[in-house]
């Protein structure tokens, strides 16, 4: 067993926290006690080697996609970023969090039949829904002021099985100024990659209120190399926020039309834009 693996129930005794290095999963299963135990054991077993597998190919994963990769998670990452790599620079790392969530959920489903389950990898979430069930997820639009701003209901008959959020103040770098871009897609990896791309596009190039620095000046090993990443965003006018959201929303519309995503919510300094064509599925409402 991997000695680094941290495994503990959260205080409610229902959600299992499994962590290895930068991978931080919160897993919850809704099923019989027996199936739950088998699924969680499978999740832990799978997690015991995931980080090692990824690190074995880390240098390739940090290069522009597509890459020829061996590990199952690495291949999920590569597959998720493939649709985006022809048009813009993207590395498989853009989908790492979502791909790990998908992989662990797949291992759980292979071990037991489950009614519902989710694997939440630091906000990038893989979902399982048996027919007739649904999940409601809370949304945080400003990562540096976390509060529940909206909620999102996903039914089993929708194609959505992944949710991911990207923003400039999150754990990963962004080339854009979105506080949060939350994307739903068929897998968590696909949502992760698309959220990264859309968040990069929410931008006001050359705006004096935006501070940027080469990614490697902050993290010497960043997959973004010397590309300028956002380090601070000063107050913006309403029209500037709308302008930035519009360029991101245009890209999201393209992805939606191409079937790469099922929806997106973009937020810049309390202004938001929603992109989706399934109004029934995404009853995205402002929280009271």
């Amino acid at each position: 067993m991997n000695p680094r693996l941290h495994i503990a129930w959260l205080a409610d005794g229902k959600r299992l926290h499994v962590q290895d290095g930068p991978i931080d999963l919160v897993i919850q299963v809704f099923a019989s006690p027996d199936a739950t135990a088998r699924a969680l054991q499978a999740a832990v077993l799978r997690m015991s080697t995931v980080l090692g597998e990824l690190c074995a190919e880390l240098s390739l994963l940090r290069r522009a996609a597509p890459q020829s990769l061996r590990g199952p998670v690495a291949r999920r990452m590569n597959m998720a970023v493939l649709p985006f790599c022809a048009a813009r620079f993207i590395t498989p790392m853009a989908a790492v969090a979502g791909a790990v969530a998908d992989e662990v959920l797949a291992a759980m489903l292979a071990a037991a039949g489950l009614e519902r389950a989710y694997v939440n990898n630091g906000g990038d979430i893989a979902l399982h829904l048996a027919p007739g069930t649904s999940f409601t997820a809370g949304m945080v639009t400003r990562l540096e002021q976390p509060r529940l701003d909206a909620q999102l209901r996903i039914d089993s008959d929708s194609p959505t099985r992944g949710i991911a959020t990207s923003g400039w103040s999150g754990r990963s770098f962004s080339l854009g100024i979105a506080d949060a871009v939350t994307v739903t897609a068929a897998t968590a990896a696909a949502a992760d990659a698309a959220a990264t791309m859309i968040a990069n596009m929410v931008d006001l190039p050359g705006h004096p209120a935006i501070s940027r620095a080469p990614a490697t000046s902050i993290d010497p090993q960043s997959d973004l190399g010397d590309r300028l990443v956002t380090t601070a965003v000063g107050p913006l006018t309403m029209s500037e926020k709308q302008e930035a959201l519009a360029t991101g929303a245009a890209l999201a519309e393209n992805y939606l039309a191409a079937g790469l995503i099922t929806g997106a919510a973009l937020c810049v300094q309390n202004q938001s834009r929603i992109v989706n064509h399934h109004q029934r599925e995404h009853a995205l409402a402002r929280h009271p």
């Binding site: 290095g21 690190c55 000046s217």
Partner: protein, 436 residues
């Protein structure tokens, strides 16, 4: 270019982040605080046991230990008393897997020019150092104490330190890594002394070579004279070894200690040989000379004047040398942290310190260090040793006293804790410390 990259490399997980000063790694759990890899999360949980890393403490410990945690384990209400102990009486025992001569017994060991310890003895295939201890930490001047504290902290937290031994070697030591002696990383531990090597491999050499000399600083072995050779009917070769003969085929002091062949100072193995005896030697006689790790080897054939001349080693004999090498374990440097839990630390745990000592001695209370098992020395007090590689990284800290801060946990059934005079009012359920 005098620019030094102030980034540090985190080795807590295989991502191996380079972390810039003031930044955290990919996990947000480790940061570069003024060049020191530092944990940023307050507690480390190992399974259902909380560890003391990050618990914080007070000095002297007149208050209850910062966390006294209660967790339900297999139906038994377990108590873990968690504290970070401040140890003025502490040090590190270092085992360096090498036969190379590092320095004489009692030779001073220096770091950054300050004496931080000394050479103690040799164990099988290893040299032993004692670093730190109360006399170095608080008894020999301010600078010496500070450097000793830094050296211990680095070693215990898994870092590498450069040590120079008086009239001996300079080495780089790091727990779990190969020692680097005078700039050369040690590869292998010897499989045994020269005599033992003869005993182990004599069968393999039979028919391939007439004579084998295993060069070793401790006991050099000679196949034709050795008991193992006699049993295999190896003929006398007329070889003469310049050394002090112990028993047949076993020689002490063939050369001075050093970093050459088999822990001796020689680089030309023939210098340990005297002239061959004309009555038994013959031109064409073949001889293998090899070190105890197989790292050095030479093949020789006697010329018409009975002088050994180097020749290319036949392949089957090279295989036999490789077999010696394959049987040697990788050379490592291992570090045991050793410390004594004093009265004040114990009173942080219970109101009757001596009862805790007695309970530890009676094995009612389990002592762990950062969740790692410890060896408790018999006798009075709670003096323990722990393998620093078994603790999570950067589990050790320091105070300017100077003294090391190390996690220590005492685990016992709740009823026993009550009986020991435990601070029952301060017991908190595990969930409350862990938070949501």
């Amino acid at each position: 270019m005098t620019d030094i990259d102030p980034s540090i490399r985190c080795d807590a997980c295989p991502v191996m982040c380079y972390i810039k000063p003031g930044r955290t790694g990919a996990c947000d759990r480790y940061a570069n605080a003024d060049g020191v890899l530092t944990r940023t999360d307050p507690h480390v949980f190992l399974g259902d046991t909380i560890t003391a890393i990050g618990a914080g403490t007070t000095y002297p410990d007149y208050k209850p230990a910062p966390f006294i945690v209660s967790a339900q384990v297999e139906g038994v209400d377990m108590i873990t008393v968690v504290t970070e102990g401040i140890f003025s009486y502490c040090g590190a025992k270092i085992k360096i897997d090498t036969d190379r001569h590092l320095g004489l017994e009692r030779a001073a060991v220096r770091a950054g020019g300050e004496v931080v310890g000394h050479v103690t003895t040799a164990e099988y295939g290893s040299q032993m150092l004692s670093l730190g201890g109360v006399h170095h930490l608080t008894g020999s001047g301010k600078k010496s104490g500070r450097v000793t504290c830094e050296t211990l902290l680095t070693l215990c937290n898994g870092g590498a330190v450069e040590l120079s031994i008086e009239n001996g070697a300079t080495l780089i030591a790091q727990a779990g890594a190969a020692p680097i002696i005078d700039g050369v990383p040690e590869q292998k531990m010897r499989v045994g002394c020269g005599s033992a090597t003869i005993g182990m491999f004599a069968q393999q050499w039979r028919g391939l070579v007439d004579e084998v000399v295993v060069v070793d600083d401790h006991i050099t072995g000679v196949l034709s004279e050795h008991q193992a050779g006699k049993l295999l009917d190896i003929q006398e070769t007329g070889i003469r070894i310049q050394g002090r003969r112990s028993t047949p085929g076993r020689y002490f002091e063939v050369a001075a200690p050093g970093t050459g062949w088999g822990g001796t100072d020689i680089t030309e193995p023939r210098q340990i040989l005297g002239p061959f005896d004309k009555d038994h030697a013959r031109p064409g006689l073949t001889m293998l000379m090899v070190s105890t790790t197989g790292e050095h080897a030479g093949y020789f054939v006697l010329d018409k004047d009975l002088r050994p001349q180097p020749r290319a080693m036949p392949a089957p004999l090279a295989d036999a040398v490789a077999l010696i090498k394959d049987n040697c374990e990788p050379a490592l440097c291992s570090v045991l942290f050793m410390a004594g839990a004093g009265g004040s630390l114990r009173s942080g745990v219970t109101q009757n310190p001596v009862r805790l000592t007695n309970a530890v001695a009676a094995a009612i209370v389990r002592v762990t260090c950062g969740g790692a098992p410890v060896y408790i020395w018999p006798g009075g007090g709670i003096t323990f040793m722990v393998d620093v590689t078994k603790l999570p990284k950067n589990a050790f800290g320091y105070v300017p006293t100077p003294a090391l801060v190390a996690p220590i946990e005492f685990t016992m059934p709740r009823t026993d804790y009550e009986r020991l005079g435990g601070h029952m009012a301060d017991v908190r359920p595990l969930a409350a410390v862990r938070g949501a």
